[in-house]
Subunit: 634 residues, 2 copies
Amino acid sequence: MNKYKVTFYPDNKTVEVAKDTTILSAALACGVYIKSDCAGDGVCGRCKVIVKKGEVLTQPTGLISVDEKKKHIYLACATTIHSDVEVEVPPESRMELHSGFKGIYAESEEIESKNPLSSDKIFKHSPLSTKLYLQLPVPSLNDNISDLDRLFRAIRKAQGLPVMQTGLSNIRQLGELLRDSDWKVTVTLGKRNDTVEIVLVEPGDTSNKNFGICFDIGTTTISGQLVDLNSKKILGTKATYNKQASFGSDVITRIIYAHQDEGMERLHSAVTQTLNQMINELTVENNINLNDVTCIVCTGNTTMIHLLLKLDPAYIRREPYIPTANFLPVLRASEAGIIINPRGLLSCVPGVSSYVGGDTTSGVLSSCLYKEKNLSILIDIGTNGEIALGNEDFLVACAASAGPAFEGSGVRSGMRASSGAIQKVKIDPKNFQVSCSTIADTKPRGICGSGYIDLIAAMLDAGVIDRSGKIKLENHKRVRISETGKEFVVVFKEEADAAEDIIINEADIENLKRAKAAIYSATAILVKHMNFELQDVKKIFIAGGFGTSLDIDSAIKIGLLPELDRKKFVFIGNSALSGARQMLLSAQATKAAEEIARKITYFELSVDPGYMDEYMAALFFPHTDLNRFKRQGR
Amino acid sequence: MNKYKVTFYPDNKTVEVAKDTTILSAALACGVYIKSDCAGDGVCGRCKVIVKKGEVLTQPTGLISVDEKKKHIYLACATTIHSDVEVEVPPESRMELHSGFKGIYAESEEIESKNPLSSDKIFKHSPLSTKLYLQLPVPSLNDNISDLDRLFRAIRKAQGLPVMQTGLSNIRQLGELLRDSDWKVTVTLGKRNDTVEIVLVEPGDTSNKNFGICFDIGTTTISGQLVDLNSKKILGTKATYNKQASFGSDVITRIIYAHQDEGMERLHSAVTQTLNQMINELTVENNINLNDVTCIVCTGNTTMIHLLLKLDPAYIRREPYIPTANFLPVLRASEAGIIINPRGLLSCVPGVSSYVGGDTTSGVLSSCLYKEKNLSILIDIGTNGEIALGNEDFLVACAASAGPAFEGSGVRSGMRASSGAIQKVKIDPKNFQVSCSTIADTKPRGICGSGYIDLIAAMLDAGVIDRSGKIKLENHKRVRISETGKEFVVVFKEEADAAEDIIINEADIENLKRAKAAIYSATAILVKHMNFELQDVKKIFIAGGFGTSLDIDSAIKIGLLPELDRKKFVFIGNSALSGARQMLLSAQATKAAEEIARKITYFELSVDPGYMDEYMAALFFPHTDLNRFKRQGR
């Protein structure tokens, strides 16, 4: 069998592959992450690469323009290797490596603090791991208990803790460590499955250096927060695309990929690489030693948690849809390939079912939905939209597969809600002038989820598109027909920080329409299933990685959210991440999360006979049934 | 630096060493275990080897006879390497590799069963690990809990167990395993530090195959027993010399050796090799798969347990004599290098102090000394003699360094209490004819501990030796003067299964006298320290690896045991091993052992001002003060 060398730039990574291998497969085999929403089906057009050298064969596709062909641009998934090849991955096809931003989350914390039930305040401070400085009495003939007993005695005296255990590696170093440090040591105590463990013993007083990181592992986006476990202060927040997105944009594609040769290994490695890179950035920026990061809490949908821990996700997608585990023991982070202190702990927020995971649990936790007296709903808008309905008496939840459009993925000019992302848009109905504001007020680089919601609402208002999403404006410099269909220019490249015009095309609008229809119809069906009317809902918590900029009016205008009294809506930012942070900071929060996960009843949308009709009816802006959106046009 | 190749036969192992390395060091470096009681000080004469080829330099020594010199026999510890060398290790210098015997322990179990308080019967059967066969209900849309929850639910239903946890490796395989096995699996549940853990999940019903092994790791001898954890039946018993004996005969020598380069690694590897070899023999002989051995309990003195777990023993011998740990968490056996099921558990019997270890705890446990109403004493005769005094109200213990003579080590014709060992001796006072009986009634191969006790008693009675241990018989074919001093022939080689005559020399008698003096004086001082008289003791439990043959009269005659009413003595065999077996079979026994270890007060002999006088006075047969042994000569 012929083997060819493929080198990828700018990563400068080389891999040997067999003839006929696709460029995308070769890239994944050597850890080069190329955008691909369709996981290699040749339909999303995200995986464009430039072949600098060598012989390739490609399938005909409308996704590559004549101009691009001339520049040797190919779809990586539809192009196979027939000699040694050199490939350049252009910036727009690369998985974003990092793009931390503090601003958004700082604001989102502000939002949370306005929530009267803000659960950060209701839980007692008792982090997953705590540090305790001890000055042990020096042993003598009259006080000659063993080193380990001496340590246990001092901890009991200081904290009155009941059960304790520790690992052999700690015991092995104990004799020398205690004597070298003159009997002054810092112990890290971890809460582990109903027992207290000595995670670590260090010489001297390091008790002021104890940090934890919480992650929300989304299908498309991973968010992380570095927390000082002593002061509860958030030291930094990052969000980046999940490198797994190279293997497909939704959980089903990933589950299928996991069953290919090395598939699980690659998916696992993609997510841990993403996490470890974020951990590195967070700790370097805050001048923190990795060894002082003693615990991690991860939340995410059930598939994401399975892939993180290398649990087989196969049975999640086969009837009767059974995950391997919803409740996981506290593990060592190193067991999942996460690099912090080698003995540091990893706790995963408990999930409910195959399609309602820990992210729903932690969202319900941090929103305090489970403490509401009145009927309330939590709508978490993401690639997997999760909707939870209930109050202090009951909780029911379902999941809606919305796709990654609201996270700025799978849409032509999409980007995450980070610096330079358009988040607010107005269109002058007379001349179709577009005015927009961006995150951090920099030159626009692309459009994020809240920007798209505003943009579509504005296009509807200005008559740029009709209720089905077709662009009806004609004979205007902003409207043109490209190889991929009709498109509307939001910002010309001259005014943008981008290589191309920032546009929205009909395919994008279709994607966004399907996403909003999935969320809306799931919400409507869930409420109906429980024999309520939408009007019965007294409070609507809106969550997601939008930052603070989500315009509820726009969201109602496009039919993403139901038409209800605006006062009922509370925007709570990334509530899944906030819940994970609470588990990091409080054992009480962990107990509460466990109770929530047990209490939530899972509702499987697809078995509801009315779901498909409801979804189809929602494929208009705002909806087929305008009676549901009576205030429209006010 | 010159490097030379040294090859050892019959092992056929080769190692490269620097010029001037001793043959003993070279042997240890490549895992060839040569007897050495003095750990290379050139005084014990146990490490004789034959240099077949090559150039060596040796120190002058009286321990090699002229005849031996001619045969190129050298002391491995006093001979250095000056070219490539080939060395043969003769049988008498090799560490015994294995010498299992069932007979002795079968009898010793019999003894135990006669003990009215036999604790095997008082503890509820609840092994360290149990197997449970489960037929799980197949999941459906109406019963769609996760695989792990399904398993937990079934276990709770079957056993009503409270807390449960399991490791990531089990969870990872769960999805496929449950489905491949048609939801019929066997779980192994382990008791681990106050929680119940799923140690293992296996397809199908393997619940009838669940085995455990208990070990008593002595300084000189290691005993092990394979137990069917379901039926409590003992399937096999083995005893062999601890390979660590190559590094010195007592705990202090080993502690010092542990601090040399690679010292700890070699000591650890020597003991785990010994254990793993015994495990292999026990399982092969009983046709048991190693994977079905799910737990191990080890008892032993504190230094032995430290070396097994690679805990630094340095502080055990430095004032104030602090061990790293007395109470150890339940570990995985693999963490200590013990090869059974890779997830199998290892529990160590809790110890009391640096010099009173888990072997004392397990001896007190199995003797039921801690339940006695009247003052009782447990004397465990071994290289480290342990003496525990007390009753249901108090327990106090001390240790006496006796040396390995009673275990047949460090004495010229010594051997362990196994097939061919002389265990009973009579000497006709008229003609000094010796008649003796051996274990398994085979031709004599050597003398074991109980044989030596009988032999010295008989030599005293017959007037072969005087009360100081000097051989006073003259002009008899059995008495002769060799290069190492005066010796008495017990069995001529023609009547023995041995290459040489079986003899006892004055150095052996001296060794045995010191050993008995150490045990006796420790017993006397301990009783005195607690303000009792020896006569106040109502019951004396005698323990040790003697088999059933220990003659109490002989032991009193030589002054090893105090002169008390013979009815007070109960011989209980290897009580340390029995206690470990009880912990293997019952969580109740484990709790009891923990309470015992906490209850025992350690008494440090060396701080008692009367100890040295008492010891010196005991260096006669039976004692300097004959008033203590009034019935002598009856």
